[in-house]
Subunit: 161 residues, 6 copies
């Protein structure tokens, strides 16, 4: 499992998918922050702004809940992911101009990282946002989903450049 | 449910989330095509190319299976989505330069569209691709997820401009 | 399946649980309305009222979403339930004095009724409401969950007396 | 997370739902006991009694299994619940007169309590009981679901008055 | 999709897994019967017999319920399976000498067959039987799982020789 | 829970199914190896061999992924199973003559064994293999599923004779 050179650890020696063995890894506190960005377009972003809390509130809250629930399903969705005891998930959504910015912080105390949980939450929150607004605009686009930061674990901390 | 002006159909009259009533809609054949694109970076894209089918094959197939399985979970993930009897899901992945292009076609014969199923499959396939390769590179980025095309249903066909 | 006298249709001739065969039943539009009631107590109900939309809004919306998502999981939760293509679920929550009143309307076009879906949604919405408020009061009690009304299907309409 | 005054810990500072961070909490043995009560009515309760173990047995066992399986799905059903490694679930059902009494004991060794698991099991067992008997009587009513007792954790033990 | 010669229909032209398109297939009533057989060994089979209904009853009923619940999860478990509206599942278990014989009949009215649902139910019922008895004997073996019969659909009826 | 004589630990004192209490058990590293064998028949086994990696590769990889995903769903499928933090799952499939041999190794660090996880993975991998090839042959038979080996835990190691 420890490679001096980079390798596909989710593939076995005979190049078959495998759920990599982590029992030797130490239990540490691990966090990951993932980000997604949606382009809403002019009409939708104005409708959300004008509606004040009456429309914006439930749209954002449904997206937050979709994201949190999605984080808990990560190991069911991503075939080689380990089931993880999430200790917290926070989904924050901000509207700015024609965009929605979603930032997810996921935490666990365990033997493997939570980046897939954070990325899955960021994706499902974005998809839920899309679903809540698609009757207004079908051309909403998820423009970006990426890992911003990761702490804990042997491979050291990571921060997107 | 029919609005001359655009509205948030997933919100009720009192602005609470609701699963919109579709029993009056007619059963028609519906398709949706969604696309996602990942930026892999130079090192990873070269490793996949050089490995030939030995690494690329299982990485792509795991992503395809993740996407198809994800499509079937759409109504569990996206809070206001209806459960849908999918009649087919096809996930196609191509590598080109430093990018992976994922295209999903989803079909149903039912009372509501399959765009969320196609978009969910495109997202989960992209997340699975990321997961299979994150031991090689953490800076993979999902650069875009969008609906390319939609047919069937009262609101008419849609094609992204 | 047709009994002149009442019987446990979910038990087989040898008294084993079974998922009763419904392929002979006709496809009709079916609705069910279920109700649940929570006693919140004085302190919690006043905190919700005073907080205005800032606390009450997200508590109620989370409960609504929990209920709708729960309705879709009915066949996974209730062992002998058939999977059902829900065509709509509406969860309405009202606060009145020291109580919260939840009313769920579920609809389908299918071969069997949706009363379990409506009852499951009413239960999960009530449990979610409890969960959102248990840091304020542990003595919240679900005081009642029942079927109010049912239409469609051979056995005729039902209305609770 | 520590409030001198009571607060909605499942809401963030900006009043959005969140899965509260528990990594600082200590791992202790935690138990919760929840209770539900169904009013069966005269006809159904007599049919169950007369049938002896032939009908009563499978009805009760299906409800027990529904409850245990429901406990394991708590984090999927209740949006802000943490996934929990349940160490045991016991569902006990007694018939007495026109009533069925369900008592669930749930245990875990973890960072957060199991009251939602116990309450979810008590609810799903009650719904399953209803489902198994609804061909005999549609007017069964769940008359009460509440937390009887809770031990372990910083907030101290709780016993319903 | 129609092949004069036999082919792997779950693989696409480029040999990637796919969920085959079935919207052109006609909706017919379809049934499948699957069988599994467990070798229990002398000690366990005698304990079950001697215990009469007290042990045998709940062991068999738990296995029946496991099987029925498993049938409903088929499309989640088997990657290329379509979600199917099951119209009935019957799981029958008989003890004979040192063996347990499980027979599952699954039915649907739909565009594709239910053999995977019947086989999955026969497997999960057998695994559940094993789990309920493994504290008595670890050497229980599932000796056979196969499709006995299949009716409905274009490819005609099938009966195992 | 400790029995000098063998007993059905998944049944309570009143012979109802229960999820046995394991909080007193110690946390140890546990492994289980399960095996399944499929008889493919002459035509299918030759088609797989001749196709080289083009057909055999995706068939085997889909079965491997089905098995790994199935292992993670064990506690949802097998009613009395505890949820378990799997630390690794490896599914190996070999074709030999007219047979496919599947061997699964599952590992956890926890309070209860992983034999059901290994057996469930071996079953779902076999069912997935069947599903991928059933358009070529319907008479594939799962001829055997059994526990080969188990280590860790108080009851000591087990190796099938």
């Amino acid at each position: 499992m420890t490679n001096s050179k980079k390798d596909f650890t989710h593939l076995s020696g005979s190049d078959m998918p495998r759920m990599v063995e982590i029992s030797e890894k130490s239990i540490t506190e691990r966090t990951a922050v993932a980000v997604s960005r949606l382009h809403l377009g002019k009409e939708l972003s104005e409708m959300l702004k004008e509606s004040g809390s009456t429309k914006k509130g439930p749209v954002l809250q449904t997206a937050v809940i979709g994201g949190i629930q999605g984080a808990k399903r990560t190991a069911e969705l991503i075939p080689m992911c380990h089931p993880l005891p999430l200790s917290g998930v926070d989904v924050d959504i901000k509207l700015d101009g024609e965009y929605a910015f979603i930032q997810v912080t996921a935490k666990t105390t365990g033997r493997t990282g939570v980046e897939m949980e954070a990325l899955t939450a960021a994706s499902v929150a974005a998809l839920t946002f899309y679903d809540m607004c698609k009757s207004v605009s079908k051309s909403i686009e998820i423009e970006s989903i990426y890992l911003l930061e990761k702490t804990g674990g042997k491979s050291g901390n990571y921060r997107k450049k």
